[in-house]
Amino acid sequence: MTQINETKLPGVGTLHDFECQSGDRIGVISHHSDRRELVIYDPDDPDRVSESVAMTPDEARVLADLLGGSTVTQRLDDLRQEIAGLAIDWLPISPHSPYADRTIGDTALRSRTGVSIVAIVRGDRPLPAPGPEETLLVDDTAVVVGTPAGIDAAAKLLAPNAP
C-alpha cells in the first residue's frame, strides 16, 4: 500500500503527497476554498514543486474518475463524438443560470445559436424532444445538438452570469 504523507498548510489547506513506484513524487493540495491543486515534485530537488495544476472540485472529480478508469466516463466519451461538423453536448442548468426556471422558448437558443435542445435530462429521467413551452429547471441537463461553435455560444448563454 502506498504511504501517503499529510501536511497541514495553515491558512491554505492540506497537502497529501506520496512517491510512485517510478520514483516520481506527486501530491494534492486541498485548499480551504475547496479548490484542488495537483502538484508534481522536481526529481532533481525533491523539496520543490515543478508543475502545479489548479482545479475546481468538479474538475478534480473528473480527473479522479479518469484515473480510476470509470466506465461511465468511457461511455460519455463515445457519445460525445462529432459527426461531420455536428456536435452533441450536455449543458447543466445551474441555479445562477439566467434561464433557470424559464422556458426553452425564452432562451431563443435555435435562432440565436443554431443549436437545438433535443432532450432534457431531469434527475435520471430523460424528456425527449421537449417543446418550446418546456421549462428548464435548476439541475436539469440540456442535451444539445449543433455546430461546435454554436454549442460554445449556447453554453455561454446558459452559463451562470459572471459575478
Partner: protein
C-alpha cells in the same frame, strides 16, 4: 432625487469616486507589472494628502472611518484563514522558528529607534514594523510561483502564524504603553489587556464551533450583517478595553469555522478589498510626500538589513526542518515582503503622533519591501534551482 443633496454631498461623491477610480487604475497597473497593489495604494494616498498633487477635503473624514473598518476587516479575514487547531499546532511545532524570527527581525527596528534617540514606544513600534512579514503578499507570491506545495512552505506558513499570534499580544501591549501614566498603571493596563486577549483566544478555540453555528445563516445578506455587526462590536469593545480593535476582529475570525467561515470569506472578501484599499490610501494620505525623500536612505538601509535577517530566519528554520539548500533560500526569500501589518503598526504611531519621523520612514520602508520582497522571492527561485544537487539523470527519464 429622494433626498436633497447639499453641495458638500456632491463633492464627497466626486472625491470618493475619483479616488476609487484612481485605486482601480493603480490596481490594474500593479497586476500588469506583477507587483502587489499595496504600495501603489499607499502612493495614491500620498498624492492626495497634505502636500500632495491635490488635497482631498470633503472625503477625508469618510476615508478615515473607512480606513478603521479596513483594519478590522483585514484582521478579521486573517483570523478566518486559520482554525484554532492550526494555531496551536503551529505554536507547538514551530516555536523555535518563531522565536528566532522575533529575535532577528524585531531587533533591527528597535535598535534603529534607540540609535535615533526616539521615544522607547516609537522604537518598539519600529521593531514591530520590521518584524512582521506580509502574509497577504506572501500568499500571493507562493501561489504565483506555484510554490504552495513545496516542502519548505509549511515552515514559511508556520512562521507567519506565529507572527500573527505575537501581533495579538503585541498590539494590546502597545495600546497600553501608549496611554502612558505611571509604571504601575501601565503595567496593570497591559496585564488586563493581555489577559483579556488570552482568555478570548482560548474561548475562540474552544467554542468556535458553537459560535459559528449561531452566526451562520443561509442568506448571504443576513450572514453579512451578522458577521460585520459582531466583528465591529467585538472590535469596539476590545478598543475600549485598550486591547486594540484589530486584535478583537482577529479573534472573531479565529472563532469562526466550518460553513460560517467559508461563507464569511465569500461575503466579506469584496468588502475587505474595498476598505483595505482605503486603509492603505489613508495611511499615505497622512504623510507629507515632501518628508519621504529625506527618509529614503535610512529606509533603504533598514530594508537591506531586515531583508537579510528574514532571509536568515527562513534559512535557519528550513534547515532545522531538514530542507536542503535550495529550499532554505526559497523559504528565506519568500519571507522578506513586508506590507499590510507593518502599515497597521505604523498607523498607530501616526495616529498617536509620538514620533513625526516614524510615519515617513515606515512608508518608505514598506514601499521598498512590498515591491522588493516579491521580486527577490521570484529571483530566488531560479538561483535556488542552480544551487540544487547536480542532475542525476535516471536512464529513460526525460524532461
Amino acid at each position: 432625487m429622494i433626498f436633497a443633496a447639499s453641495p458638500g454631498a456632491a463633492t464627497l461623491l466626486v472625491e470618493l469616486g475619483a479616488i476609487l477610480v484612481a485605486l482601480a487604475l493603480l490596481g490594474r497597473l500593479a497586476a500588469r507589472a506583477g507587483i502587489p497593489s499595496i504600495p501603489l495604494y499607499l502612493l495614491a494616498g500620498l498624492a492626495v494628502g497634505e502636500g500632495g498633487f491635490f488635497e482631498l477635503v470633503t472625503a477625508r473624514d469618510f476615508i478615515e472611518s473607512a480606513a478603521q473598518i479596513g483594519v478590522i476587516l483585514l484582521l478579521l479575514l486573517l483570523g478566518l484563514e486559520y482554525t484554532g487547531r492550526e494555531l496551536t499546532a503551529a505554536l507547538r511545532d514551530h516555536a523555535p522558528a518563531g522565536a528566532v524570527d522575533l529575535a532577528l527581525n524585531f531587533t533591527p527596528g528597535l535598535l534603529l529607534g534607540v540609535v535615533l534617540g526616539w521615544d522607547f514606544r516609537a522604537s518598539l513600534l519600529l521593531g514591530g514594523i520590521t518584524y512582521i512579514s506580509s502574509s497577504g503578499i506572501i500568499a500571493k507570491v507562493l501561489s504565483d510561483l506555484g510554490n504552495t506545495g513545496n516542502r519548505e512552505t509549511p515552515i514559511v506558513l508556520a512562521i507567519l502564524v506565529t507572527e500573527d499570534l505575537v501581533m495579538a499580544l503585541y498590539l494590546p501591549l502597545m495600546a497600553g504603553l501608549l496611554i502612558g501614566g505611571d509604571a504601575i498603571d501601565v503595567g496593570l493596563e497591559v496585564t488586563i489587556a493581555v489577559a483579556a486577549v488570552m482568555t478570548a483566544l482560548v474561548l475562540a478555540i474552544k467554542f468556535g464551533n458553537r459560535i459559528s453555528a449561531i452566526v451562520f445563516n443561509r442568506s448571504d445578506e443576513n450572514l453579512l450583517l451578522s458577521l460585520l455587526g459582531v466583528a465591529l462590536l467585538v472590535a469596539g469593545i476590545a478598543e475600549h478595553l485598550q486591547a486594540s480593535a484589530a486584535v478583537g476582529a482577529f479573534l472573531v475570525g479565529i472563532a469562526l469555522n466550518g460553513p460560517a467561515e467559508h461563507a464569511a470569506r465569500n461575503v466579506l472578501g469584496p468588502l475587505k478589498d474595498l476598505f483595505a484599499a482605503m486603509f492603505f490610501a489613508f495611511f499615505g494620505l497622512q504623510i507629507n510626500p515632501a518628508e519621504l525623500p529625506p527618509a529614503l536612505a535610512l529606509a533603504l538601509g533598514l530594508a537591506v538589513v531586515t531583508a537579510a535577517t528574514k532571509l536568515a530566519t527562513g534559512w535557519w528554520s528550513a534547515k532545522q526542518a531538514g530542507i536542503s539548500t535550495p529550499g532554505r533560500l526559497r523559504a528565506g526569500a519568500t519571507l522578506i515582503a513586508r506590507g499590510e501589518f507593518s502599515i497597521v503598526i505604523a498607523g498607530i504611531a501616526v495616529a498617536e503622533g509620538i514620533e513625526p519621523d516614524l510615519g515617513p520612514l515606515a512608508a518608505a520602508y514598506v514601499l521598498i519591501l512590498a515591491i522588493g520582497g516579491p521580486l527577490i522571492a521570484r529571483a530566488a527561485d531560479p538561483i535556488a534551482h542552480r544551487l540544487g544537487p547536480r542532475r542525476k539523470r535516471i536512464a529513460g527519464r526525460s524532461n
